[in-house]
Amino acid sequence: MMKLETAHIEEVRGIRKLDIDFQKGTFAISGPNGSGKSGVIDAIEFGLTGNISRLTGRGTKGLTVAEHGPHVDKTKFPDAAFVELRVFIPALKKSATITRKVSDPKKPKIVPADPDVQAALAEIADHPEITLSRREILRFILIEPTKRSEEIQTILKLDEIGQMRAALNTAQNKLQTAQKTAATLVQTNRDSLLRHLQISTLKAEDLLESVNKRRKLLGLPEIAELTADTKLDVGLAAAATGPDFNKQSALRDLNALSEAAKGFPDLAKADAAAIIADLAKLEEDPALLAALQRRAFIEKGLDLVEGPECPLCDKPWEDEQHLRDHLKAKLQKSAEAQKIQEALLKKGTAVAQAAIKVAGQLAPVLKIAEGQGEAGFAKQLTTWKADLEGLKTALTTLDGVTGLKDRLTAGWLATPKKFAKELAGLTEQVMARPDQTAALDAQTFLTTSQVRLSDYREAMRKSKAAEIAFNSAKLAYETYCAALEEELNALYDSVEKDFSAFYRAINEDDESKFTAKLTPSEGKLDLEVNFYERGLFPPAAYHSEGHQDGMGVCLYLALMKRLFGDRFTFALLDDVVMSVDSGHRYQFCKLLKTQFPDTQFVITTHDRLWAAQMKSAGLVTGKTSIAFHSWTIDTGPLVETNQEIWDEIAAALAKGKVEVAAAALRHHLEYVSRLLADQLGAAIPFRADANYELGDLLPAVLSRMKDLHAKAAEAAQSWGNKAAGDAVAKRKTALAAASAATNVEQWAVNKAVHYNEWANFGKKDFEPVVAAFKDLLACFRCDPCDSWIYLTPRVNPESVRCDCAAINLNTKPKPK
């Protein structure tokens, strides 16, 4: 994370050109609605992440950073819109400058371009949650549990963890399918071996009895023990091991296939029928079919996402996360299609297993056909076997299954025409062969036994390996889920504790025993809060909207603390503090100061009082706060404390924009009058809405200043301090002259501001007004230290002074 040192913003959102010195500290930006505060937040967010969530977040369809990021007058010149941020990275103890143009948001210029600096800034760019706006607070609180779970998972980047879990689960499923296939092959090879040996169970004793009978006939030593290295045909002369055709064994294989073929029409019939029914349902409902096809398409796309560009249509997105969210939302919409998809794949796997079994039964007969020179039948069997193996593969994918409707309807096994006849012919041909001599029969029996035992052992080895692989994947998946659950429970526990503690800290006067409960369950995250010790309820049940807002901020802070820990050094809170009711603002400031001493918050508020409270609570200072008094499309935000206001007014007048100059002057006078009224203790009739106007403020300030001059003159006389008396007299004269001048021009200002008679004013009319007020305000300001004068101390004041004491009027007379 980082801290913000300075920002230079040009032509971004509502800002024309603005420089702010953030001083790496918590910073307040205040101003009325529409004065450009959020534009600053947008610009900083853009500078750091390349994105503006206000334009690309929920409910912002049709808005883009490229089109709507630049100032409205610069939409055709996006190159002119850029943000330059100077940041400090505490972990690296380095400062860096990041410059980002709206025309090329993904390629910021970073100086220095050190890899560690780039990595640190890339991490920030990956965390849009550094910005919290007013409209986003409630997404944590007033939201259904499933959505809250999604929101919080997104902010904590739990979706990445979800991807890992999904990948492990898919791996487990793939290996399970492979294990089933391997087990089927074991069964096929086992059957083949048993058939050949003419035994019913694969016991070593039975096997050796069958083999030793032939070995004895050939005069070979009996095999006493069956080990992994045992060769059943050991001892046969090399020449004798050549042919492995054994007539009786071949006949058994042929008969076995012939018997099996009787059951072919019903093989996996129910599973195939279920697939056909689901496919028919899809044909009847084109929307469902489209959803299913889209689903498969989107799943593939989601798997291929590697950046902000859609792999399906090449459309560029703001970032990869937005693209992922979009694709996931599409997947969620097709729940029914998902159900059908799962059923199709399950039944497809069942048919595939049957196909493997048949292919295994064809293998020995194919060998016989080849041995008998039945090239035609051998070719037919080879083709059929390859077809079944291909079918097996197709049945394990959605695309494959949906393309097999005709095949499944016509009979998925696709037994070749005349198969039964050909098989019968081959059987007759084998039967017609002369019986082998007892010796040859025994020899071929042993060689075939060895071949089939080897095949069985190989199938067993592969099956064992497949089983180990599946068990490993299963163990890994289950272990990952367990680790995930433990960590998430710990996470929610710590978030719950922090959230409760933060909320209690803000509401310590009336909810000092507040507690909350975050309960995660599958796909949901329930939040319940204690209401005045009457029990746990959903946040919206009894708490006021203001309290719910406060909960939103507290939950956000708790989540950020958990997400970043010590690295939570920066957050943009856009009009969020308004959520805290006026009675608890000091506590909120205290919370930020005590719980997040190393975090720089950039806080905007449209409430002038809130801005003042942040200062008096010590959260910000005069140097770490800025106030906008208004905004115009030509100037952007107008800064209240801006000492260049006179230049700005002069510039507006030079362009003949009297209305702009008059509004700026009026706002500046309002700001300074309010400040001076406060600093000098001017007496102003109280207004419950605190909506004091210039007419309320300025006369009271002038009156108070005259009074203070009088007091200072009296004090100087009482002390016999002639120099002080002269200084007071000089200031009194200057104020009287300036005040008289403004009175003369007052009508003009009032007209210009109140009655909108802009058309009646020319540059020449307004220039004297500006000059008069400039002189008047100069009477309250110290140029050397650039500060406004104030009365000190506030209670029982003794002097009027400036920050550097160049102006220092004693108001306390010598005691008599």
Binding site: L156, E306, S472, L475, A476, T479, A483, E487, D566
Partner: protein, 58 residues
């Protein structure tokens, strides 16, 4: 401070090692995979779990 993903990955590997049910070579391969910040694909895990027990030299 480690990220949540890193914490889960560490706990996951530690639990696997403790269980003594998975070959050390596979755990090592998983560790290498998880150390990579990119998105992992199911086939990469299939490859690891399909390694012969005790390594791939057999």
């Amino acid at each position: 401070m480690a990220t949540l993903q890193q914490q889960i990955a560490e706990k996951f590997l530690a639990k696997l090692a403790d269980s003594k049910q998975l070959d050390a070579d596979k755990i090592e391969q998983l560790k290498k995979l998880l150390a990579d910040s990119r998105k992992l694909k199911a086939d990469e895990f299939v490859k690891v779990f399909s390694l012969p027990a005790g390594g791939d030299i057999k």
